[in-house]
Amino acid sequence: MKSSDLGELAVRNLRESFLRNSLTTLGVAVGIASLVAMLSLGVGLQELASKRLSQSGLFDTVVVMSRANVRGFGRPPRDDSAPKQPSPPLDAAARKEMEKLPNVVEVYPQIRFITEARFADASYSAMVAGVPDSARTSGAFDGIDGRFFSSATADEAILQVEFAKDLSPQPSTLLGKDLVLRYAERQALGPQAGANDRTVLDANGATKPNTSGAKSNTAKTTDAAGSGFSIVPRQRKLRIVGIVETEPAAGFGGFGSGRLLIPLKVAETLRAAQANDLRDIVRGSGSESTFASLTVRVNKPSQVEAIETTIKSMGFSTFSLLDATRNLRIFFAVFDLLLAIFGSLALAVATLGIVNTLVMAILERRREIGILKALGAADRDVKQLFFVEAGVMGLLGGFLGVGFGWLIGQAVTFGTNVYLKQQNLPPAHVFSVPWWLVLGAIGFGVIVSLAAGLYPASRAARLNPVEALRYE
């Protein structure tokens, strides 16, 4: 029989027992809806977590360090026979080289230093961190009270809320006010630099010229070749423009450990002395400033591995949370699988409904099957007819189920957001019905229905026409 005729006859047969077939189809729809609802929840939560994590910059960044920095801290040297590559300095030239790599969005140094902030005639110790301008659009500062920096070079500061609470019991009143950042600037010294050019810190921390010409260990360092740098106390007035509730991008590769956030470009121009400066002196890198580490941000987390390999081949050490993302993906895959299994339970019940409906149909249509066979229908035709009927129920149930699932999703999202609002938390999309899920669910509904129709269809096909015709 032609497929168009099969479809026509199947739909006609389904219409005949409208109520029973509708209820069976509804059963399939409920099964598909529960599956869609469960998986949509899994996908939604995964997207929510991924969004948060990608905002944190944890998974699309590679932290690059000079190889010399990585070993040490009491750890034994790596036991490998491979010849050691020279470790190039992690300086501005290396940064430019990395910026040219494909799929690299930006490369910026991690600038963090502990310093003193003065506000309302009081001093506060704070970890200052530079924030790249790209954080403006990454969503990391979505929940900010106030605003992001007006420009990449603005003398502005964003405070972490705990630090802001130290400054004022009502943090929001700090917005628009100024604070003074006092820090130690690193100034390069040439071998011929005169002693008068150098400054030292007095016991109170104030700057004064080193007029005595006496060498001061705290103010000036030089290496054997005579190069080095001096420390100059500086201060910079910054306007408080924002307060962040939670630490944006806390943790690895981010700028979350900072309590006082300033534009990265501003942080770079400060040339504030950092922990690695002393190491540079010891290693004799002299007045050439190197970075403690560089953060390389790539287009997609999937490109992290390739970039890491390239940077390693340049002679640097790298670190990323690639393994962590892999584990996260595994976690969500298992999570989705479990949700799908629970969602499928309803579909399993619906499958039994299809089997029951079709077996009943065979009993009712026994004589009809006999007539069809007497008129020349092959076993295959009868089997296909029942198959198509099961498939049509699955298809309709799939469409309906996706619709119901979507409605359940909307209801869950609405309920969740009402709850989140009560908890003073921002709304979240915990539900997502991607296209692949829509098509997959409908396809799954059809496949499950066809599987359910397998036994009834073959039973119908096997009917002896003579006995079937005799059936009243």
Binding site: K2, R12, E16, E368, K373, L375, A377, D381
Partner: protein, 245 residues
């Protein structure tokens, strides 16, 4: 594969038996019957209930298989055909009419008659003409859109006849076609069968237990009793009327 090249026979049964096991008892529904039906012949299989006539008809129509013996039709041994080949045989070479009409109640007359064309995968464009032609032959062309429940018994049987003819088969098997009809309507159906036999040159095998109808319309009468062929002969009265005609 066994074949017969003798095309003068439309159907040939050779030592055909059909046995059923009913518990410990073996039922010999058809017991070693040999029968040759010539092309264009109208054969009546006469017998009382349980004589085996319907079982023999079902085997000749390809609905059932003999326990032993061979049935040749269309140059092939039906016993050796695969289920798919038997289905094709029923679809292309055979038309069947039943005592209880066996029209599908939820379909219109037109749809019922169209059903064999669907199974034979005849083009949709050709179907309407073929259906109309078949219904005109049984004078039901004006009842196309009616459902079987809206027709009288005679009309339903005529519709069943149209359905049996629509694929233009060579063989028509009728199982008690007048069994559910009053005598006048039954006679009307018999006339129609005879008319079809003459106009289309079809071979008709009809099962009946009504001797008078067989005497009036069949070319040949084969009588069965307890699964055995007890008599087989030319129907002289029909032959005489043929000569007179």
């Amino acid at each position: 594969m066994t074949t017969t090249n003798d095309n003068s026979f439309a159907v040939r049964a050779a030592n055909v038996s059909r046995h059923y096991q009913m518990g410990a008892a073996l039922i010999r529904a058809v017991d070693d019957i040999s029968l040759e039906i010539r092309s264009g012949e109208f054969l009546a299989l006469l017998g009382s209930s349980g004589s085996g006539k319907s079982t023999l008809l079902n085997m000749m129509a390809g609905l059932d298989r003999p326990t032993s013996g061979d049935i040749f039709a269309q140059g092939r041994n039906l016993r050796e055909m695969t289920p798919l080949e038997l289905a094709r045989y029923r679809r292309e070479a055979v038309g069947m009419v039943f005592q209880s009409f066996n029209l599908l109640p939820r379909m219109t007359l037109e749809e019922n008659v169209e059903l064999p064309l669907r199974l034979a995968e005849v083009d949709r464009s050709e179907r309407a003409g073929r259906v109309r032609e078949a219904l005109e032959r049984v004078r039901l062309e004006k009842r196309l859109a009616h459902r079987p429940s809206e027709l009288s018994g005679g009309e339903q049987q005529r519709a069943a006849l149209a359905r049996a003819l629509v694929n233009r088969p060579k063989l028509l098997f009728a199982d008690e076609p007048t069994g559910n009809l009053d005598s006048a309507t039954g006679e009307e159906i018999m006339r129609l069968l005879a008319e079809i036999q003459h106009s289309l040159g079809m071979t008709i095998v009809m099962v009946t237990h009504e001797r008078p109808l067989a005497d009036r319309f069949a070319d040949r009468i084969a009588a069965l009793a307890d699964g055995k062929l007890v008599s087989d002969g030319i129907n002289e009265s029909v032959q005489r009327s043929e000569v007179q005609r």
